[in-house]
Symmetry: C2
Subunit: 154 residues, 2 copies
DNA sequence: TTATGAAACTTTAAGCTTGAAATAATTTCC
DNA sequence: GGAAATTATTTCAAGCTTAAAGTTTCATAA
């Protein structure tokens, strides 16, 4: 998935683009993962969940999280389990529908996330440093169509 | 990692770019993974390893694979183990340095990969269909700097 | 009402992934 | 030559990930 095109032909440019896209995201992801671990003793999936919840103080359902983060249901269960056991989020099952549970950041989780997010943003700025802000805008525009249909805002 | 920016500020455009990049690659990766499973009963990591080996008939060392694919050493061990047990690759330890083993595609592995790669390339073309070939070239150019330093070719 | 189906979530098994520790072989340098 | 450092790889524990199967709850409608 990270190797070069195995043939030349009509789809060549798109294939090359895909490989570059993947290499770029893997490289950046690996660096962010390592720093999250070293600096904050946390992981990327935990960060993702907390980032999603941070935007929505009223909380999210498990299935919302799963859709938003583009990962499976069962996956979210495990990550939230660990976040709960660390006191960073809560599951509350006290609404009308007893199948669902609302997941929210705790106060500690909110505080903790704010600090991590600040570092995270500056890391991304650093890692994408060789992309000018202008170029970043253009690139982001081209990638817009891949934005999940689920989320209206950003 | 996939949520929107949590603040506005100087790094905003780069952060947005990173989030779009990540969403795009996760979306495409998920689709490719699913098709590889359904159509060829294989996985993305196995495909990656085979793609790397396909380009190099003389084979690669475990550590070459690890560097090239941007994954850890231990990871490659497991994937290659499974490919060996499926008869798709071989490990040969018969060169001068007895610490190393040369990993190669078997004849069956080569044949198998060629078929998968053809489908893979057309899938990528389809999934990136809304990016014109011209746009693909420009985007790929912008992402060039993330190409691993290790590989000279592509 | 009560069966039938759908929805939200969890569990499970298998595989992927990492970082760190362990093993084994080679190289370096005294 | 032999100790010490380096290199290549594997093993391990913990966590992430998926798809599929299972559980509980809700909604629909006969």
């Amino acid at each position: 998935m990270v190797a070069g095109p195995t043939s030349i032909g009509p789809g060549k440019d798109r294939l090359r683009l895909w490989i570059r896209l993947l290499r770029a995201s893997r490289t950046i992801e690996a660096e962010l993962r390592e720093r999250l671990k070293k600096e904050f003793d946390t992981t990327l999936p935990r960060f993702d969940v907390m980032a999603a919840l941070y935007r929505v103080p009223e909380g999210m359902l498990m299935s919302d999280l799963s859709r938003f983060l583009l990962v499976s249901n069962g996956n979210v269960t495990g990550i939230v389990d660990r976040l709960v056991s660390e006191g960073l989020v809560t599951r509350s099952r006290r609404n009308g529908d007893r199948r669902t549970s609302m997941v929210r950041l705790t106060e500690e989780g909110t505080k903790s996330f704010a600090a991590i997010a600040a570092a995270h943003e500056s890391w991304v700025g650093e890692l994408l440093g060789n992309v000018s802000e202008d170029e970043a805008r253009r690139l982001a525009g081209m990638l817009k169509s891949f934005r999940s249909n689920w989320e209206g805002r950003e």
